[in-house]
């Protein structure tokens, strides 16, 4: 069985073609700058040379057509025709309360997806655009939607509700949805595999630390709480997002600086986080700053690390214990300094990591020592394989 996985953003399309027998990636690539004359396509089929080209691509249908043309290309491709593709799996960021699992897409599902656009205005419309474009090109091939929010559908009401008037929740569905679900699902499954234990008997805290970041408490394979909320703004300190902040401070600030909704939204999403404190949003720049004695970089790092640690403590309490902590995504996989800072202060939980192993980057590895009561892992996340697996499961 061959599954084509599509991840459509507002101006980009990423794709992977899987042979599901061994979950092998047959081809992968991406199209960037859709809507411009100088869109860039990079493509690579297994065992073949990488193709890189620039061309005018004005919309998603053309981008997907072009990616399929490369996948079936006699020289650069890997399959003879798109008929060999059994299904297309789409990443959809927000499933609202309507979807607690992946679904086969039909007309009714598309209508629901359209109605969810206001919950994720930057992502969902692009995801739906990708679905419509793929249908147009492959009308007979089944299309499956895999939601970032679905993994968090198991969170209980006491963790997903905010203590605001219940009628507001009912009217506007304001509640914790959580994000990065596909990543948290993958890395916790992988950690259980690496422990040689059944996921259903484990309590795992998964730390997805990229430019955006979230932490999830996974008990018996199910998400029971997560740090991102109604939007991806809640929770950890991120590259440019504030994470948790007293809502009262927002009202005060709007009054003091005469800011409107758009301005305060932009301030908290684009001017805050590491960038807001230290003036740089990339963790590599923060590390360099610390080495050079920059005080604000040190403060930003401390804030970042402390917030993560606080959530780990909270989720340990929420699950009444923890068996493993997993680090993933850009920072989680590649910044030993962050893992060290967090783990060295979790001695009360019985966390001990091997300093040498902690220096490794971008590999699936156990970092904890044999006598560590809580196991610590770094896992390279793979959201696409989860989308492919879910798609195959639904067929």
């Amino acid at each position: 069985m061959k599954i084509f996985v599509l991840n459509c953003g507002s101006s980009s399309v990423k794709y992977k073609l899987y042979a599901m027998k061994n979950e092998e990636v047959l081809a992968e690539g991406q199209v960037e700058r859709i809507g411009q004359d100088n869109a860039v396509i990079s493509h690579q089929s297994r065992g073949k040379e990488k193709v890189l080209k620039t061309m005018s691509i004005l919309e998603h249908t053309v981008a997907i057509k072009e990616s399929l043309r490369l996948v079936t290309h006699p020289e650069h491709g890997i399959i003879a025709s798109t008929d060999e593709i059994d299904a297309v799996g789409h990443r959809v960021v927000h499933g609202g309360e309507s979807f607690s699992d992946s679904v086969l897409i039909d007309e009714r599902i598309k209508q629901i997806l359209d109605s969810l656009a206001s919950l994720a205005p930057l992502h969902n419309p692009a995801n739906v655009l990708g679905i419509r474009a793929a249908e147009k090109i492959m009308p007979k091939t089944p299309q499956v939607a895999v939601f970032d929010t679905a993994f968090h559908a198991s969170i209980p009401p006491h963790a997903y509700l905010y203590a605001i008037p219940y009628s507001v929740y009912q009217r506007h569905k304001i509640r914790r949805y959580g994000f990065h679900g596909t990543s948290h699902k993958y890395v916790t499954q992988r950690a259980a595999e690496m422990m040689g234990r059944d996921l259903r008997e484990l309590k795992i805290i998964s730390c997805h630390l990229g430019n955006g970041g979230s932490i999830t408490a996974v008990k018996q394979g199910r998400s029971v709480d997560t740090s991102m909320g109604f939007t991806p703004l809640e929770g950890l300190v991120m590259g440019t997002r504030s994470g948790d902040i007293d809502p009262g401070a927002i009202f005060y600030l709007m009054e003091q600086e005469d800011l409107n909704l758009f301005e305060i939204d932009s301030m908290l999403n684009k001017h805050s986080g590491l960038y807001g404190v230290a003036g740089v949003s990339d963790m590599r720049d923060i590390e360099n700053g610390i080495r050079e004695g920059d005080k604000l970089c040190q403060i930003a790092f401390d804030l970042y690390e402390y917030r993560i640690r606080k959530y780990i403590g909270a989720y340990t309490a929420a699950m009444d214990g923890v068996d493993a902590i997993v680090f993933t995504a850009g920072i989680g996989e590649n910044v030993p300094l962050v893992r060290k800072a967090i783990c060295s202060k979790l001695g009360f939980l019985g966390v001990k990591i091997d300093p040498e192993k902690n220096e490794k980057r971008s590999v699936d590895l156990e970092l904890s020592t044999p006598d560590s009561r809580v196991k610590v892992f770094t896992v390279a996340t793979d959201e696409e394989v989860i989308i492919a697996r879910d798609t195959a499961k639904i067929l």
Binding site: D258, L259, K270, H271
Partner: protein, 296 residues
């Protein structure tokens, strides 16, 4: 046709606002102006973006991206390269007629024209060009980047394709498009002129000082700016021009208050001369007179 390059004719406050807004939404913009003000249009747009940056609305890279999408030229031949034309010059029929005819001659035949005129009828302007079914009236209200509505008018023969193009453009700029019948002054300027004129009369009659009149109107109706500040920012010469045209159309209820005529005669034109009903700093911030005196 996919619209990517937009021409904005006129680099006044309205034209600059439309250019900034369109560039922010990803359009490539060519700003045309033959007046002296055109020269510093880009600098003024940059200042407007700096104010947004100071209020966190955009980031430094976004500011650079927006500025990079706007170019300024005096050369109308560049019109042959654009996909949409937005005419935003002063509301004088012959000025607009000349400009629209030139653009009509230079642009590809499938290019839709938008006029921002508020006192001239789209039908009258459409008559002067060969693509008379492709002119749509979209009245953007300054400050364009922050006012969420536009008033749309069409001529009797405007094509549905042209209307759709104009609506799509305005929607992409984040504006709610409200369609009204062709009528000089539309809804916004026509109602505003009454308010400004009445406020000016109250000042002339000594009902209250300028700050009191403005504060009562502004705060009792929850306006972000009062009518006199709006008038100052529009330019009192423009306000007088509108009122005169509305008087010709609707009679003496639009007869400009003598105080307004006096200010225009004295070149006390509002923001552009730093003094109108109120005074303004170089950064376009309103200063009440007593504050100014204290500073002096």
């Amino acid at each position: 046709m996919e619209i990517r390059k937009v021409a904005v004719l006129g680099a006044g406050r309205l034209g600059r606002g439309i250019a900034e807004c369109a560039a922010h939404k990803g359009y490539d913009v060519i700003l045309f102006s033959q007046g002296a003000r055109g020269q510093d249009a880009l600098r003024r747009i940059e200042r407007s973006l700096d104010r947004k940056l100071a209020k966190w609305a955009i980031t430094e890279p976004e500011k650079r991206l927006i500025l990079g999408k706007i170019s300024y030229t005096l050369d109308l031949k560049e019109l042959s390269k654009v996909d949409l034309v937005v005419e935003a010059t002063i509301d004088q029929f012959y000025t607009k007629q000349e400009l629209l005819r030139t653009a009509d001659h230079l642009c590809r035949p499938d290019v839709v024209f938008i006029t921002t005129s508020s006192t001239l009828k789209v039908s009258d302007l459409a008559r002067v060009i060969s693509r008379n079914d492709s002119l749509v009236g979209l009245h953007f209200i300054p400050p364009v980047p922050s006012v969420p509505v536009v008033e749309m008018t069409t001529a009797y023969n405007t094509s549905s394709a042209a209307i759709e193009t104009a609506k799509h453009f305005a929607s992409r700029l984040g504006k709610k498009v409200l369609t009204i019948q062709e009528s000089p002054g539309l809804v916004n300027p026509r109602s505003l002129m009454i308010l400004v004129n009445e406020a000016a009369w109250m000042l002339s009659e000594g009902v209250a000082d300028v700050r009191t009149v403005e504060t009562i109107i502004k705060e009792s109706w929850g306006m972000r700016q009062g009518p006199l500040e709006i008038a100052d920012r529009l330019g009192l010469d423009l306000v007088l021009n509108w009122m005169t045209q509305l008087q010709a159309e609707f009679g003496d209820r639009y007869a400009p208050c003598p105080l307004l005529r006096l200010y225009v005669r004295e070149k006390r034109l509002g923001l552009k001369t730093r003094l109108g009903f109120f005074a303004y700093t170089e950064d376009d911030v309103l200063v009440f007179e007593e504050e100014q005196e204290q500073e002096d």
